[in-house]
């Protein structure tokens, strides 16, 4: 229960939609969302397929708790094969559309094939149809969102949409929902664009029921909400300061990747931090931050709602950017700011708005601009290559121009849309790309936080902080403090975080709950809602199964142990300042222990007994 037990299958090639039952045996093994959709993907596509070809599929999946009153129970994920990494992609988003899908009666929507012409999917409860979208193609997410609402005369429609970046083939395009929430990473929006699918618009009025034990469920939900409310981080820190509170923390510990990771501390961090977002600005006396916002069912509400200074050069005479929209989160502020050396809060907010407006992952975009700036700095590219933009570290103008061009796929924006790896290869300096498996790093330097190096190197979707957020332990002391510069014990820590996170990502809830909740808090809520017996132990097993299933997909797609590493810079250049000064990444030393703990061979393949223990398919 809690699942609607129904999948909506959309064949874009033939323009047909159909309903089919959810495989409940798999639901017991893989739960929902990330895990369950990966199980379907593994079953239905060849891992070697062209990610941008019609043989790839794109799955939008909810979890069993999506659409319920469990705190943060509004998440959905987009699962497909990534064009950026050629690995499995799973990008998770909040907002409201996940719950709406569920309320319309669907656990998942599977898109297959490729539409001959631009279309969008319109779902109203049990009915679904593909609608021509020729008039929406070429429009930004914000424009298309407005037009679809108008066309159906329904202000309550929830919409996921791609922007012009995806249409132009930018390899890190996001699927944006509810205007400023994003299934951001690994180019899931690019896949959607390759299928000529512009948007998914959903109206669900059936509601989410099928709760196994409603009375117990409501009791467990209330208890767990209380835990979040009473926790200093989820009850106070995140709602007040958002994720951006990390800006000064990570800078202080010397793990702030700066100027394409040449440096580990950014001198302007305090100008773009959470504290800076709350300071009144000179022009109108208002701060950058207007308010915090919650996604569906979320009692934490870490989201930032911001405005840009109307007098800032980026928006002068552009009133369409004067209103409120999704503001800077830490990762975006880092990539657009520290990594490019830009310390102008309004320029970053503008670039972030553009990322939302046209559907780009701000981490990969910012990191790619940073790589371009290093290429420019060493003379590998010049202003002829960039169409006149002076791509200098620290140039706000270069950043905002780059954002506009990449969002629309124009000029040098075409190069930037390749992502850091392909850009640096194109201009002859592959070592300057700060990526793993083709995906750009997030905001933690692996020299200053050693566990994050292993996190990036082993993440199944390429460099990513959300696959095992050991920062919680290594820096923030949650659940307990470990030494960020030590490598001892980190393989076990990373594995534990990876497995638990894979389970949480499959529930329909947000991983930010885990600053206060453990699997001990998840299990009773799931158990009261879902058929089957859900214990913390079972969730760990489900998480480990998911991790290995993703790994297997990647191995079949051609990934080898040689890909489980970091860029050369982290082995040859020590951190230049701060507590980690002189320190390099210990990833190579940690890897054998990690493989062993995983039950993998020295070549990084899954041992037969591990496969058997977890019941992996095939």
């Amino acid at each position: 229960m809690a699942w609607t037990k129904k999948i909506l299958r959309v064949n874009l090639t033939e323009g047909k939609v159909s309903s089919e039952p959810l495989n409940m045996e798999w639901a017991q093994q893989y739960l929902g969302q990330r895990g369950l959709a990966t199980r379907y993907l593994v079953d239905e596509i060849d891992p070697k397929c062209d990610p941008l070809g019609p043989e790839n599929k794109l799955i939008m999946a909810t979890g069993p708790l999506t659409g319920t009153m469990v705190s943060t129970g509004g998440r959905y994920s987009v699962i497909t094969k990534s064009p950026l990494t050629n690995c499995v992609a799973c990008s998770n988003s909040g907002g409201f559309i996940g719950a709406e899908m569920k309320s319309a009666g669907w656990d998942m929507i599977i898109f297959e094939g490729k539409s001959p012409k631009p279309v969008y999917l319109y779902v109203e409860n049990e009915t679904a149809e593909l609608v021509p979208a020729d008039d929406l193609w070429g429009k930004s997410v914000w424009e298309a969102d407005k037009l679809i609402h108008e066309k159906h005369g329904d202000p309550q429609l929830r919409i996921s949409c791609i922007g012009r970046a995806a249409e132009a083939g930018c390899l890190y395009s996001a699927v944006i929902n509810d205007l400023h929430r994003a299934a951001g990473r690994s180019g899931v929006g690019t896949v959607m664009g390759s299928k000529n699918l512009k948007a998914v618009a959903v109206r669900g009025t059936r509601g989410v029921g099928n709760i196994k034990d409603p009375k117990r469920f409501m009791e467990e939900v209330s208890k767990a909400k209380q835990v979040l409310a009473e926790n200093e981080v989820t009850g106070k820190g995140l709602p007040t300061y958002g994720t951006q509170v990390l800006m000064n923390v990570i800078n202080e510990v010397g793990a702030m990747p700066t100027r394409n990771m040449r440096e580990v501390q950014f001198e302007h961090a305090n100008q773009i931090s959470a504290e800076a977002m709350a300071e009144p600005r000179k022009s109108d006396g208002k701060p950058n931050l207007t308010t915090n916002a919650g996604c569906f069912a979320c009692t934490i509400a870490c989201g930032r709602i911001s405005t840009i200074d109307k007098t800032h050069y980026s928006v002068v005479n552009k009133p369409e950017y004067w209103g409120n929209s999704g503001g800077l989160e830490y990762e975006a502020a880092w990539a657009l700011g520290c990594d490019t050396g830009v310390g102008d809060l309004d320029a970053l907010t503008y670039a972030n708005f553009v990322c939302n407006e046209d559907g780009m992952d701000p981490i990969s975009f910012g990191a790619t601009v940073a790589a371009a700036m290093e290429l420019y700095d060493i003379g590998a590219i010049d202003s002829k290559t960039t169409g006149g933009i002076e791509m200098k570290f620290g140039s706000a103008e270069a950043l905002t121009q780059a954002a506009e061009l990449t969002a629309r796929g124009e000029g040098f924006g075409q190069d930037l849309g390749l992502g850091s790896k392909r850009l640096c290869e194109k201009y002859g300096h592959p070592d300057l790309s700060m990526t793993v498996k083709g995906q750009e790093f997030p905001a933690y330097d692996p020299r200053g936080i050693q566990g994050m190096g292993l996190t990036y190197a082993t993440s199944n979707r390429g460099a990513c902080h959300l696959r095992s957020y050991t920062v919680a332990s290594e820096i923030l002391g949650i659940p307990e403090k470990t030494d960020p510069l030590a490598t001892e014990g980190k393989p076990g820590l990373v594995k534990a975080f990876q497995d638990a996170t894979a389970a949480v990502d499959s529930t329909g809830c947000c991983v930010f709950t885990t600053f206060a909740w453990t699997l001990e808090n998840f299990a009773p809520q799931l158990d009261a809602a879902c058929e089957g017996d859900w214990t913390p132990e079972k969730l760990v097993e489900v998480g480990e199964r998911i991790w290995n299933l993703e790994r297997e997909f990647n191995l079949k797609a051609g990934i080898t142990a040689a890909d489980d590493t970091l860029p050369k810079r982290f082995f040859t250049e020590g951190a230049n300042t701060g507590p980690a000064k002189g320190k390099k990444s210990g990833v190579k030393e940690m890897m054998p222990e990690y493989y062993q703990l995983r039950g993998w061979s020295a070549e990084g393949t899954i041992n037969p007994d591990t496969r058997k223990r977890l019941g992996l398919p095939g």
């Binding site: 000064n248 100008q271 504290e275 403090k481």
Partner: protein, 83 residues
């Protein structure tokens, strides 16, 4: 001796006058323990969750010691997280 005191997030309110962007240069007695400095600025100890001296974490036992030198930076946060 002079040190730089940095207080962040909700601890911003405890910064002495004249602080700029969460940092202030302050005079503390030589040999003062970290907890003595924390108390001196009335930062509630239970909110002094993340205590860093020059970026390095100081655990509960180190906070009782006098480990500050002239010119050091002491930075303090309440429990925070992000991602």
């Amino acid at each position: 001796m002079k040190i730089t005191l940095k207080l962040f997030a909700s601890l911003t309110d405890y910064l002495p006058e004249g602080a700029v962007r969460n940092a202030a240069e302050v005079e503390v007695p030589a040999g003062a323990s970290l907890n003595a400095v924390i108390d001196r600025y009335r930062v509630p100890r239970e909110l002094a969750h993340l205590v860093l001296v020059n970026g390095v974490y100081a655990g509960a036992s180190e906070r009782e010691k006098s480990c500050l030198k002239e010119g050091d930076t002491l930075a303090i946060w309440p429990p925070v997280a992000g991602g």
